[in-house]
């Protein structure tokens, strides 16, 4: 189920196996019949790390955590796998009270770390003694694909910037140490931003206790770049134009799975009775890869294991259109070969290739359907008008005045989330609003959406998305020096990463691109200091000898292997988008750069999910 994790120098299947083994060991230490109750947020992540076989082999059923849960009588052990959230503890307590029978044991595994706060809360609810065991599953980074790991913490940025809760940053540091334990010491570190510095300081501290890191050779990863989401708030607010980005924005990709209403997909399954019955019959067949099945809609797995998706996902949607049309013609040609006269040998060869051809046909059909759905959404006026407004902001046109388009949207009382998104985008491009502009927007919003919106606005201000203008105009300067916007945008067969937003290259991606050059960030020193937060550089060198002397000048010799590609781990603290991932993959695909990326993030976000987390209380 996870072979697609394996294809790069940093073999993420190792991470998956280690995490799965941890769970298996815990499960095996509990005797008797077990049932696992999962909180909503853990169902997806569990699927990233474990195969359903682990549970069927042990006869364990998986249930979602719901308030009115009843468990069958013969189950002796109920195991909860949950995030350490206090409000979940209430549900757990109620559940325990209802289901407490003689001989029944309750266990909790917190992911990623046991929380004293939660345990205290259970104490207050007086149920703490019924729990046999409080364990933890130290899953910090979960493998999403062969080059992406995610902590699956959608609220990380909000928690840190608005609530002041730095748990996510601490867990990221723990995760970094875990990665180094598996893949070896990372010798060179670069970073930018307050959150990034925090993560690195902690990781360094934690690593001091890890002897293994200092005794061996350098590991598979050559460099680490930590980027704070706060240095580039424009990119996550902009509409993504890559295939994967658009799918995520319109429909939401959850842990590599896309779920859509079944009627867009013709019945594929081998049961001819079902196919000949109702016309839009949905995928009723048992999908053995689902952990908790939900047979009403069609679920498609979207990861690099499927070759067609691997080709399409990072491309601009306009290029995807052409590619799909070409693929369909290609399949048509192959199928027509069958109609001609063939010798027995030719028929045999054709039949040998038939399963592969059918797979290609299925994949092409699915993606043609998905692309069709996206196309419908793209052709709406609202989409195009929003896009035009975004693009005007990105080129700094009339940026210091209230935008007529936004005023119009407010007057129409259109979706608040989108209006706030556009305002924050303008603010990011202007590097802050003049006071009168900000007040103007606040007034208009309060008048139309009610006073409650002011609370949301104060959150956004705390998070740094809405702010007053300072002396320096970081975005405007960087736009010129880093060519964030390009004049001659090329969407099909692009030569530059700006294709991911048609003409705008994500600031974070450009920073990474610059770091690959011989001088690194040296040339950008002055401009990069305009971005908020510290810019830092660090080394982790090999310790030799008993006295702990550091091997001098270890770094140049270690990284001077001209033939081997550099492996760079880029950590986005606070979230990253599929467009940013696509941009980095584009850089890796270019021979000249001689680099391979592994991307780590607290969560893969898009413009909707980013704002949702900031708008929720």
């Amino acid at each position: 189920m996870f072979p697609y994790l394996r294809s790069q120098r940093v073999n993420l299947q190792l991470l998956q196996e280690t995490s799965a083994r941890e769970l298996e060991q815990h499960l095996d230490s509990i005797e008797g019949i077990k049932v696992i109750v999962l909180d909503e947020a853990m169902i997806g992540p569990l699927g990233l790390v474990t195969k359903p076989k682990i549970f069927t082999d042990r006869g364990i059923k998986l249930i979602a955590l719901k308030p009115d849960l009843r468990s069958p009588k013969e189950v002796q052990n109920i195991v909860y796998i949950v995030r350490p959230q206090v409000k979940l503890m209430d549900q757990l307590a109620a559940h325990v009270r209802n289901n407490n029978q003689a001989g029944r044991q309750f266990h909790i595994f917190f992911v990623p770390r046991r929380s004293c706060l939660c345990i205290k809360h259970l104490e207050n609810l007086d149920v703490v003694n019924t729990f046999m065991h409080f364990g933890e599953l130290t899953w910090n980074f979960l493998p999403l694909d062969s080059d992406v790991v995610s902590m699956e913490m959608p609220n990380a940025y909000r928690d840190v910037s608005i609530e002041g809760d730095t748990t996510a940053l601490y867990q990221a540091a723990v995760g970094l140490v875990q990665l180094q334990r598996l893949y070896g010491r990372i010798p060179k570190i670069y970073g930018k931003g307050v959150m990034a510095q925090f993560v690195w300081d902690h990781a360094k501290q934690l690593a001091i206790d890890e002897k293994s890191l200092y005794n061996g050779d350098k590991g598979a990863i050559d460099q680490l770049i930590l980027l704070d989401r706060g240095i580039d708030l424009l990119t996550p607010l902009a509409t993504q134009l890559t295939y994967e980005g658009l799918i995520d924005e319109f429909y939401g990709i959850r842990q590599n799975q896309l779920t859509l209403p079944g009627e867009h997909f013709p019945a594929y399954y081998t049961n001819p009775v079902a196919a000949s019955g109702s016309s839009g019959s949905t995928a009723g067949a048992e999908d053995p890869e689902r952990l908790i099945s939900d047979s009403d809609r069609k679920t498609i797995f979207l990861h690099s294991g499927e070759p067609l998706y691997g080709e399409l996902r990072n491309k601009n949607f306009n290029e995807v259109r052409m590619l799909l049309a070409r693929k369909v013609k290609d399949i048509q040609a192959q199928m027509n070969v069958n109609r001609q006269e063939q010798t027995v040998q030719e028929i045999k060869n054709f039949v040998d290739r038939l399963p592969q051809l059918m797979e290609q046909k299925k994949a092409t059909s699915e993606h043609t359907a998905i692309a069709g759905l996206i196309d419908e959404r793209i052709n709406l006026y609202s989409f195009n008008d929003d896009l035009a407004a975004e693009q005007e902001f990105m080129i700094c046109a009339d940026i210091d005045r209230p935008s007529a388009y936004i005023e119009d949207q407010i007057a129409r009382r259109s979706d608040l989330r989108n209006v706030l998104r556009l305002i924050c985008l303008q603010c990011a491009a202007a590097s802050g609003f003049k006071e009168r502009v900000l007040n103007y927007y606040k007034r208009e919003l309060a008048q139309v959406y009610g006073l409650e919106v002011l609370l949301t606005i104060s959150h956004l201000e705390k998070a740094g998305l809405l702010r007053a203008q300072t002396e320096s105009r970081a975005y405007a300067v960087l736009r010129k020096t880093l060519h964030l916007t390009v004049d001659d945008s090329v969407e099909v067969n692009p030569k530059d990463i700006s294709y991911v937003h048609s003409f705008y290259a994500p600031l974070t991606a450009r920073l990474v691109e610059h770091s690959l050059k011989p001088l690194g960030w040296q040339t950008l020193k002055s401009q990069i200091n305009n971005l908020p937060g510290p810019t830092f550089e660090d080394f982790q060198v090999q310790l030799i000898g008993i006295g702990g002397r550091h091997a001098g000048g270890a770094t140049p010799s270690e990284t001077s292997l001209l033939h081997a590609r550099r492996v760079v781990l880029v950590v986005f603290v606070g979230g990253c988008t599929f467009a940013e991932i696509a941009a980095l993959r584009f850089l890796a695909a270019q021979e000249d750069n001689n680099v391979e990326f592994v991307i780590a993030t607290t969560k893969v976000i898009n413009k909707h999910s980013f704002l949702d987390s900031l708008m929720s209380s």
Binding site: N318, M335, L354, A369, G372, I395, C396, R473
Partner: protein
Amino acid sequence: MVRLFTLSVFFKGASEARLLKTTSDLQSFSFFQRGTVNEFMTFASKTIVERTQPALRQSVKQDAYMCHVYVRADNLAGVLIADHEYPHRVAHTLITKILDDFTAKVSADQWQNGTDSSIAFDSLPAFLTKYQDPKEADPLTKMQTDLDETKIILKNTIESVLERGEKLEDMVTKSEQLSMQSKAFYKTAKKTNSCCSFT
């Protein structure tokens, strides 16, 4: 039309061929012609055996007919007269078969001096009828026909497998529509102007 007309077994003597057994199916000829045709065919068969060396097979074209002859090394000969469409291979297989059968049933000493009435061999008419349809009788032809039929069934099965899932025509329409609607995403008409002064 594929037709077999006569089957005969001869003994090739030193000076002449001796007709041992014959049978014919002359239904395609009109009633009055049959006698003549029969005589002619017998004469042709006899002549061709006399003109063929032992241990030799021949197929001789004679007007609208084809004479297939096989003279064995022991001078036992079989002649088959058929039309042009009758497959040669089947004809010779049949002759070989008849001769083997004849040898098994009729002892060699009767060959030299036997006549049509003295020899007890009744299988010829049965063979004639059976082999009127060469496809059915000859295993090799049968196999070829079966193979051709199987190929057709196989093609149809493959077609139906290929048809499974979404119809190809639908996919083609959808994807063509998709590719034709491509519009560049770069919307704004405003040129990239340099923003107000910055430090």
